[in-house]
Symmetry: none
Subunit: 233 residues, 4 copies
DNA sequence: GATGAATGAGAATTCATTCAT
DNA sequence: CATGAATGAATTCTCATTCAT
């Protein structure tokens, strides 16, 4: 909801040096106000883009469609984003930010939570985020450079990768707290990540129903088995 | 209608329509022959579609491109397929058939292979099929996108699902051979499936490099851990 | 008018192998007819393009405008030309072909024309062609890679250059007949070319009226002075 | 209105609008000062336009680009120029002014320069100006395109013509000093002008390379031949 | 069965210009 | 005087699909 958090993802390329002004404070105030307006309008467009993407998929989220939903003419969008790609990038940035927030916020059952509890909380938050917002997963897949290579700039791609990794780090930390070396924790984190992604994909595509399985149960099974294995040694 | 017949397809992309033959037999024979011809031409088009899809990706595999590669004009394609999506559907059908063939063919190290060996062989074949042909995975994702498969008829969708399940059944059989009940084997198969899909997706999207992990190692690790767990009990 | 002459400039990229046919002669006939139709339609589009260019200039000769004038939708044009650039190239190719025809056709006053007479005839034809069709000069300038670099393919550019040179060769031949070495004749031809271009440009842009000069007189003056100089030595 | 004032323009592209000053004098003085400010700001914009045009060509010199380089927003430009064409017109005015300056400044090898030397100097300066700044020639061609100069007012057109003629007058003067009547000198000047323009155009469009000729050599050859002819008679 | 010309809707992007502030 | 958001019309180009032949 609150787009201000993802300010750093896409620096507005249309920013101009403010003209000279007599008093300094009013100018600042105006700049602040205008910048805020600008951010609000960017957010408006991103909202439109997100809704278009969620309802119509990436193919349907054309610039025209986004503009229409935002109440703009297509050309107007380019005042706020250089590209369609930039919009997609910002969208994914937001999404990953929300994911990080969700993971960071997640805590164990009480104040004296064990490492295992915290692992459950962190990994569970990651898993639940995408389970509850399946389209966010699609967004990531479409944009990350594999499935459908879309030309995010290398820098943006790097930043987005960073955010994704950041969302997994809390789990890794708890794996280390459970006695793994850093290297082992990395392996275990990537395996966990793969398991989560696999479950989510199977769930999203309806494949999991073929097995008459509940995704949640699969996830918990994996996690508990992992914890048991760690506590055993 | 029945895609199962398209099992072995003409691989030579330079094949051209066979020259016309003079009518020899009564109407029945003629109908049979014509139907066979029809199947052959469908196969020809699917060959073209597959090669286009593999070389150019989904975006590049336009009807025009497929027609060009098949030696047809765009309009002619519509004599064999109702639309582009139907071609994609048939393509996926073929793909799943090849997957099944690969899994069925896979055997353990020798004639006296243990259940664990066979599980390794069957699951490994499944995994390797998609690892070595990432485009096949893309195809599946494109068509199994979300709950409602892109323009696939329910029947086709059902058949495609059947084929996918069939490719997993050999692994499930071996899990049972290793002592699991059917219900347990189903759970374990779906977890295995999720793990494989997750690893493949992470690999295809380049995400796995972020962890500096090898997909093969992750897969083997999961599988061996699973086998060890089963043999322990 | 007759576009068949410029057949070699743009090979139709949409040509396809003809499907198998029972009898050979009818197929040929059909291919010929279709090819002729195709050529006619290409010619139609080029006519539209030329009229658009002549009336509106290069900027006005958009694909949309050309399509409109040809009675086509924009997309239809792409069945005949790969590009806007290709249309421009074909236009220039035609133009240069007409220039060559004009120069080749030009003869001296009678059968026993002297080298000087032939030089007058050939150079005069070149000059008159552009004087009488000033827009053809514009066409060349806009497309040749200097003023407004438009992306003609290197091959096309080369062929167009060849045609331009070909139109100047008859003059060079006569300069040699008047006693110049090949090297000297090349220098003199390029100087003559420059003079002609200069006069034409000044005439086309109305600059020559500033001097109250007639372009024809300037041209003749230069040419006669050149001939006199050659005959003197 | 009167472009002749824009003789020396602010070359520093980093110059910014001067800060606001407090009003000091009566209305008259204020009007004068504001007009001066206005001129300065017009010059600033023209600087930006010239640099944009030189670096990016006519297509790249969009209003937005010019505004950006001038440190203005697009809308602000319209306070100083009615439209983009007017900017181009002013740019051409400047360009011709620099041409005149270059020609006027040009002198013979020493104080006792002969008429022939001065002709070489003046004509050479004209030629070198455009040879060294081909973009200036483009500018002229863009605006002097065809009979009806692109959106230039008749008055501006007339003034620009005047400036162009003025740049050729020194050569004409020397031709008269070499013994030609005024009428003869005009003819010879226009022929010389045509030759220069022809050489420059051929050079700019790369056509001259087809002859493997150097533009300088062609120019000198013409000039020396002309001087020789005049001195002979 | 096959052709292939043609449509029509759509894609991203650019930009001079206007105008409320 | 200056802003800068917004328009609206333009640009080239792509492509699934149709249909008369």
């Amino acid at each position: 909801m609150c787009e201000c958090r993802i300010r750093s993802v896409n620096k507005s390329t249309t920013a101009r040096k403010p003209g000279p002004r007599k008093s300094v404070a009013p100018a600042d105030a105006r700049a602040v106000r205008e910048s805020a307006l600008n951010q609000a309008r960017r957010a408006l467009i991103l909202d439109a883009a997100r809704s278009a993407f969620f309802e119509l998929g990436l193919d349907g989220a054309s610039l025209r469609e986004i503009a229409k939903r935002a109440g703009y003419t297509p050309g107007a969008i380019y005042s706020y984003f250089a590209n369609l790609e930039e919009i997609y990038g910002a969208l994914l940035g937001e999404s990953l930010q929300r994911l990080n927030d969700a993971v960071e916020t997640a805590t164990g059952p009480d104040k004296k939570a064990s490492a295992a509890d915290l692992l459950r909380a962190k990994a569970g938050a990651f898993y639940a985020f995408y389970r509850d917002n399946p389209k966010e997963l699609d967004l990531g897949f479409y944009l990350f450079d594999g499935m459908k290579p879309r030309g995010l700039t290398p820098e943006l791609n790097h930043e987005l990768n960073e955010r994704l990794m950041a969302a997994l780090r809390p789990a890794q930390v708890q794996l280390e707290a459970l006695g793994l070396s850093t290297a082992e924790a990395v392996v275990e984190t990537s395996a966990l990540f793969a398991q989560i992604v696999g479950i989510l994909v199977l769930n999203n595509t309806g494949r999991i129903r073929l097995f008459k399985q509940s995704p949640d149960r699969l996830f918990e099974r994996y996690l508990e088995s992992l914890i048991a294995r760690l506590q055993r040694s």
